[in-house]
Amino acid sequence: MCFTQNFWNLVVSGLADGFLYALIAIGYTLVYGVLQLINFAHSEVFMSGGFASYFILNAAIGTSQPHGIGSLAFLALGTVGGGLGGALVAFLLERVAYRPLRRRNAPRLAFLISAIGASYFIYNIAGKEFGRNALEIPSPFTNGPVFSIFGATVQTYYVVIAVSAVIMLVLVDRVVAMTRLGKGIRAVAQDAETASLMGVNIDRVISQTFIIGGILGGAAGFLFGLNAGVVYTMGFTPALKAFTAAVLGGIGNIRGAMIGGLLLGIVENLGVACTQASWRDVVAFGILVLVLLVRPTGILGEQLGRAA
């Protein structure tokens, strides 16, 4: 087979991509769970996280070369900063582009279009205010090979992505499964009307859902930007892939989004080995269409309430 030669190398780089997809995909899946809506503007939540962490780290690191414990501190700072930036934008997004429509019980197409509008507005205004060139996030660590596994080199950057993503994914999984907040989210996802009759404040739960998705999406924006830099148009493609991942795993299902993300990342990278790098998106979307045709509910099924 074409991918057997570098199999483990490709799996490693695929996992790195996959963790990012998973983090973004959670935002889609949570919102889909409670609203049955594709949050089309989630790409801009991702972008905002990248920018927030850029400005924070630029001020904090400057031209110094952090190492050791300093690296860890700056990484944490960047992740938190990105998460907060993403959460803020997600919160405002829900307030401005979704809530007025929800009040009116508008048709679903209206939400989708309002989200597309919000997305265009946000990323273009970011370009206007912060410049349209790609910006380098000052690196909190020096990248290079750390260790190898099955002959595949693992870089520092991959380790950073994997560790931070795993921490966040486990946290969000536990939060949704165990806390009061999570209970509210699951209740609204299962049956909003009943939940509201039972005294759940739906508005608040929806706001919180957007914020959780925003934190993960924003943090992903930071992790992504660490290597590739941030720019106002950076959200579109990763978000599209993450959405694919969410559908792949079963939209509305948190663990599904995680598995879908990782799977998509790996398959995409193996696909590159078999075709050309330029066919990568075709591979990804080809998989999506196949999955939808064969198993439209995704790998793990759809219900947020049931699976989590």
Binding site: G14, T153, A228, T233, A273, S278
Partner: protein
């Protein structure tokens, strides 16, 4: 030019332009304006909105800067006319470009166009410019096909893809002695042509070429791309064992690829083209990654010379951001036009300017501009550069280096 002259120059230029404006207004209303120079417009067509806006803005402000300087008399002495600037947005798109071109053509004071910036937009708009006999000097359209359509009003100050590729291949095979070469292009019209020309020559010289196409990423080329694809690609390149990797594309993506390759432990030589000949490549990849990288260009880079630093600082003052890809080319294109206009005299007609541009010789920031009959730049000597200690230094023309 120092700061003081600029400070003085700008208001004077503004006043002069206002006067000139009054002059033409009077002329239009029938009275004879004595001693006031005629005003001509140099237009710029390129993307000012949409995903490629930044590339377009890089050029737009360079054109504007050249025009301001010409009006204030710093770059050209005693021009027999005043210049105005007009920018038209085509979003870099072939479907938007004819309308933008038509807007330029209809403005009767326009005598020349800097642009269109993109090859596709040029292909769609050039028939209109040709019909209007309006000269266009593109700072960035590199598609070879543009010079073969019989448009005598078409010029460009960049070498087309066929000039650079063979020179690069000669150097890699003959001087570096590489038998296996890995080539990557970013799927842009520019890079695809370049990499093909490169591969053809390299194979002629007996090397084997493995090729991958990797579309530019979203961070670098909006809306066109993949995400972080370079991890997998780096693995492929490393395991191919090729001692030289040649990248056709722009600095932004090249920096990402270079980082991925080095992080993966690839030790081979990296090489790229004029799209990557940009200090941003070094700053984005980091000096430790970029050191040793070979870059080529059918241009001599005056990167460290005095003219260039004043150009950079004044550009920044005007635009609010630093010079970027194709800024210097746009600046040269504009000055080439102005020089040709000066040759024509005070009564500049579009058709006369076409003829003058065919003859003009102008030494600019990036190269000495002189056009072949088909509009391509003449004398396409390919120069080689290398990143040493975090800065780009010139090695010399390829023909000499190969010996």
């Amino acid at each position: 030019m120092n700061r003081i002259t600029l400070r003085l120059g700008a208001p004077i230029a503004a006043a002069a332009m206002a006067l000139a404006g009054v002059g033409t207004a009077q002329a239009a209303s029938g009275s004879v304006a004595r001693a006031s120079k005629p005003t001509y417009t140099i237009a710029y067509e390129g993307p000012l909105s949409g995903g490629n806006a930044q590339l377009g803005l890089n050029m737009k402000f360079a054109v504007q800067l050249a025009i301001n300087q010409a009006n204030s008399g710093t770059t050209f002495k005693k021009l027999p006319f005043k210049l105005k600037f007009l920018a038209e947005d085509d979003q870099g798109s072939a479907t938007q470009s004819p309308a933008a071109a038509q807007a330029v053509i209809n403005n009767s004071s326009v005598v020349a166009v800097v642009g269109p910036a993109f090859s596709g937009a040029t292909k769609a708009a050039e028939p209109l410019y040709h019909a209007a006999n309006l000269p266009t000097v593109s700072p960035s359209a590199t598609a070879p096909a543009l010079a073969t359509q019989g448009w005598n009003n078409f010029f460009r100050v960049v070498a087309d893809d066929n000039a650079q590729g063979p020179g690069d291949a000669t150097y890699v095979v003959k001087k570096l002695g590489a038998k296996k070469i890995y080539t990557v292009d970013d799927a842009s019209a520019y890079a695809v042509g370049l990499v093909q020309a490169f591969a053809k020559k390299a194979q002629q010289l007996g090397a084997t070429v493995t090729h991958q196409e990797a579309p530019g990423t979203t961070q670098c080329q909006a809306g066109t791309g993949n995400v972080q694809q370079y991890g997998a690609l780096a693995t492929e390149i490393k395991s191919s064992g090729a001692p030289v990797t040649f990248y056709a594309g722009y600095y932004c993506d090249f920096a990402l690829l270079a980082k991925a390759l080095r992080a993966d432990g690839y030790n081979g030589r990296l090489m790229s083209d004029d799209g990557s000949l940009d200090p941003h490549y070094v700053s984005e990849a980091g000096a430790s990654v970029a050191n040793g990288t070979l870059l080529s260009c059918a241009c001599t880079n005056l990167g460290s010379s005095k003219t260039d630093t004043t150009f950079s600082s004044q550009f920044k003052k005007l635009a609010g951001f630093a010079v970027g890809t194709y800024s210097a080319e746009a600046y040269d294109a504009t000055n080439t036009i102005i020089k040709a206009m000066a040759k024509v005299g005070s009564n500049v007609k579009r058709s006369a300017l076409v003829t003058a541009l065919h003859k003009v010789v102008y030494t600019g920031l990036t190269k000495t501009v002189h056009f072949q009959p088909n509009g391509n730049i003449a004398g396409s000597t390919v120069y080689l550069y290398q990143v040493k200690n975090g800065s780009i230094v010139e090695l010399g023309p390829v023909s000499k280096l190969v010996g």
